[in-house]
Symmetry: C2
Subunit: 108 residues, 2 copies
């Protein structure tokens, strides 16, 4: 999939991945995989960015003798997801513009 199209989608995907329950890096990647590929370097960059923006909080927890960072979505993060749904209406109108006049049985 086109890199540029992914931008703007990745952030909300990560937030969506931790929406229903706290999760950690490796799991987020696996959960997103069926829908969108994300590299480790990209994910951890995004997680840090989202943390700085107050969209999520981090908690370090031991798991099987190894440290894991669990990410928890905040109210701001949930708000971001809501805003995204609003923006999506705009996106769909743009899609309409791009595919305008593309129906098979188009009239002149």
């Amino acid at each position: 999939m086109d890199i540029q199209l992914k931008r703007g989608l990745l952030d909300v995907c990560v937030l969506a991945a931790i929406k229903s329950e706290d999760s950690y890096g490796y799991k987020i990647i696996k959960d997103m995989k069926p829908y969108i590929e994300i590299s480790e370097s990209t994910l951890y960059t995004i997680l840090k960015r989202l943390e700085l923006a107050g969209m999520l909080t981090v908690r370090t927890s031991e798991h099987g003798g190894r440290l894991r960072k669990y990410y928890h979505i905040t109210k701001a993060g949930l708000g971001r997801l809501e805003d995204f749904k609003d923006e999506w209406r705009e996106v769909m109108s743009i899609y309409q513009f791009v595919t305008l006049g593309d129906t098979k049985n188009e009239k002149k």
Copy 2:
């Protein structure tokens, strides 16, 4: 609208704006305006990029004592628009992922 979401949309929007008939910079901006805002610097950058990629051709023509650059979509450009429609299926599946479990009457 979110800058990141615009990426990946702008290129195809510009191609769509010259799809049915040749157009020029200023008109493209005005045609796109109801759907998506684009600054002049961005548009001319994109037009140059698309020309280099063989998605469109340029023809300079005089109009009212002033030079105008008319942009014409190529087969490759039309192909790009077709590819975009395929990619859109992926985008919609991502949207599903993001809004998963967001219905009002959600079951546990």
